[in-house]
C-alpha cells in the first residue's frame, strides 16, 4: 500500500525525497551501462510490465485476492539497477497521474518499495542461487524476505519522523506481521512467475546471465 501524505513529518519527507533522488540517479547511470541506448524503450516496457502485473489478481479465498508488488521480480528479470528504476518510475507515475500515494510521500514510497526492496532482494537471490538453490526458489525466498525488509525500512522512517503516538514496538510488530503474510504471497507469485519465464526464455533472466560463465573473447 502506498503511504499517503502526512504519515511522516515534513523534514523526514524531504530527507526521504533526497534518498530517493540519489538512488534514482545511481540507477539511471547504472541502467544505462546495463542497457545502453536500449534503456528508454526497454526500461519503459519493463515499467509497464510491473504496472500491469500489479493488476493481475491472485485469488486467495472467499473472494479476496492479492497482487504482486514486483520489486525483487523486476530486479531478478532485468537487473538490480534497471529493476529499481522501473519500480520507481511506476511509483512516480502512480503519484503524479493517478493520485495514488501522496506527493510528499513519494520519496518515502520510492525509498522503501523500490530501493530497499531491490537492495535486499537482489543480493539475497544472487546468494541463494550461488549456493545452488534453484533459480525460482531463490527468487521467491528473496522476494518474500524483501517485502518484510522493506516494511522494516518504513518503520525506520517512521521512527525518525512518524506523526502518530503509537509505540515503535507496536508499529514494528504490526508492520512485520502483516508484511510476513504479504511476503509469503509475494514469494510464491515471484517463484511461479520466474519459473514460468525460465521454462520458455531462460536467456532473458538477468540473474541467470549474471552468474553464467562469461564467454571467452576470440
Amino acid at each position: 500500500m502506498h503511504a499517503p501524505d502526512g504519515f511522516v513529518n515534513a523534514p523526514t519527507s524531504i530527507a526521504a525525497g533526497v534518498v530517493a533522488a540519489a538512488g534514482i540517479a545511481v540507477c539511471l547511470r547504472k541502467a544505462r551501462e546495463e542497457l545502453d541506448d536500449r534503456t528508454a524503450p526497454l526500461a519503459g516496457l519493463v515499467a509497464v510490465y510491473v504496472f500491469a502485473a500489479q493488476m493481475l489478481n491472485f485469488p486467495v479465498a472467499g473472494g479476496t485476492s492479492g497482487h504482486l508488488l514486483g520489486g525483487t521480480l523486476a530486479a531478478v528479470l532485468v537487473g538490480p539497477f534497471t529493476g529499481a528504476l522501473c519500480v520507481s518510475v511506476v511509483l512516480l507515475v502512480q503519484a503524479v497521474l493517478f493520485a495514488d500515494g501522496g506527493l510528499t510521500a513519494l520519496g518515502l514510497n520510492i525509498s522503501t518499495m523500490a530501493l530497499a526492496t531491490v537492495l535486499i532482494g537482489y543480493p539475497l537471490a544472487r546468494f541463494l542461487l550461488r549456493v545452488r538453490i534453484p533459480l525460482a526458489v531463490s527468487s521467491g525466498i528473496a522476494a518474500g524476505v524483501s517485502v518484510v525488509g522493506a516494511s522494516l525500512t518504513f518503520v525506520l522512517f517512521y521512527a525518525l519522523g512518524g506523526t502518530t503516538e503509537v509505540a515503535l514496538g507496536t508499529v514494528t510488530a504490526a508492520m512485520v506481521g502483516v508484511h510476513a503474510l504479504i511476503g509469503i504471497g509475494e514469494g510464491l507469485i515471484t517463484a511461479l512467475t520466474v519459473g514460468a519465464i525460465a521454462a520458455t526464455r531462460p536467456d532473458l533472466i538477468h540473474l541467470n546471465r549474471s552468474l553464467a560463465p562469461t564467454p571467452v573473447e576470440v
Binding site: 524503450p41 519493463v46 506527493l103 511461479l192
Partner: protein
C-alpha cells in the same frame, strides 16, 4: 498518444491553463505546508479544505467525481481509525470506549492531511494532460532519460493492458476460473508470458526507433518556459498554505 489518461478531464479553466511545471511545484509545496501544519488547530485544516473546494469548483470537477476519486484512501482510513485504540497516553471515554487522546489527534491529523494532499493530487492529475506533465517534468530538470522511460511506460500501458485482457479472455474461454490458491501457477504463467511479451516488444520498439534515426534522444514537444505571471499565480497557493500553517503554529 492520445493525451488522455486515468484522471484527466479536458477543460479551459485557470487551472487547466497553468503550465504543468508550475502546477507540479505548487502542489508539492502546498502539500508540504499541509503536512507541516499543527494538528491541534482544527480551523487551519478547515481553511485548507475551503481553498481546495474553491479550486475544485474553478476546475469544473463535479463534486461526486471528486468524492469517487478520494475513495482510493479508504484502506488507509481503516488504519487511521485503529489509532485511538492502539496509541499510548491519556485515555478518554467515548461512547463507553477508552480511547487514547493522542491517538484521536493522530487519527484526525492523518485523515485531514491525507485527504487534503490527495485532493490536491487529484486536482493536478485532473487538470493536466499527459504530454503536459512530461514536458513539465522535463522543464523541472528531471533527467531526460527518466522522462523518456516515463513516456514509454505511459504510452504502452493501454497496449499491455489489452494484452493482459486478451490473455484473460483466452484462459476463460478454455474454461479457466481463478477461485483460490491452487490456480496460482496458471495465473503466474500468464504473468511470465506477459513479461516475455513486454520485453520483446521493448526490443522491437528499440529497433523501430533505430530505423527512424534514434540516437539516444527523443524529440520532445516544445517545452517553453512559464511566464513569471504563471509562476506568481501558481505559487500563490503554497504561499497561502504556508502562511496559514505559520499562523496556526504561532
Amino acid at each position: 498518444m492520445s493525451g488522455h489518461h486515468g484522471l484527466y478531464r479536458p477543460g479551459s479553466s485557470v487551472l487547466h491553463r497553468l503550465p504543468a511545471q508550475v502546477k507540479l511545484v505548487a502542489a508539492l509545496l502546498a502539500v508540504l505546508a499541509v503536512v507541516a501544519a499543527p494538528r491541534h488547530q482544527i480551523w487551519v485544516f478547515g481553511c485548507f479544505a475551503a481553498v481546495v473546494g474553491v479550486l475544485v469548483a474553478t476546475a469544473g470537477i463535479p463534486p461526486r467525481l471528486m468524492a469517487r476519486r478520494l475513495l482510493i484512501e479508504v484502506p488507509f482510513l481503516g488504519f487511521a481509525l485503529l489509532l485511538p485504540f492502539v496509541a499510548q497516553g491519556e485515555r478518554t471515554e467515548v461512547l463507553g470506549l477508552p480511547l487514547s487522546i493522542e491517538g484521536l489527534w493522530s487519527a484526525w491529523e492523518l485523515i485531514a492531511t491525507a485527504t487534503v494532499g490527495l485532493s490536491l493530487s487529484v486536482l493536478l492529475a485532473s487538470t493536466t494532460s499527459l504530454p503536459e506533465i512530461l514536458n513539465g517534468l522535463q522543464r523541472l530538470r528531471l533527467p531526460a532519460l527518466l522522462v523518456q522511460i516515463m513516456s514509454f511506460m505511459v504510452r504502452y500501458t493501454d497496449v499491455v493492458a489489452g494484452e493482459l485482457r486478451r490473455m484473460r479472455i483466452a484462459r476463460e474461454s478454455r474454461g479457466f476460473e481463478a477461485r483460490d490458491i491452487r490456480q496460482w501457477p496458471i495465473v503466474a504463467r500468464g504473468a511470465g508470458t506477459l513479461f516475455v511479451r513486454c520485453f520483446e516488444r521493448g526490443e522491437r520498439v528499440h529497433l523501430a526507433m533505430l530505423a527512424r534515426g534514434y540516437e539516444g534522444r527523443m524529440p520532445m514537444g516544445d517545452a517553453s518556459g512559464a511566464p513569471w505571471s504563471a509562476w506568481a499565480t501558481g505559487l500563490s497557493l503554497p504561499v497561502l498554505f504556508g502562511l496559514l500553517a505559520l499562523t496556526a503554529r504561532a
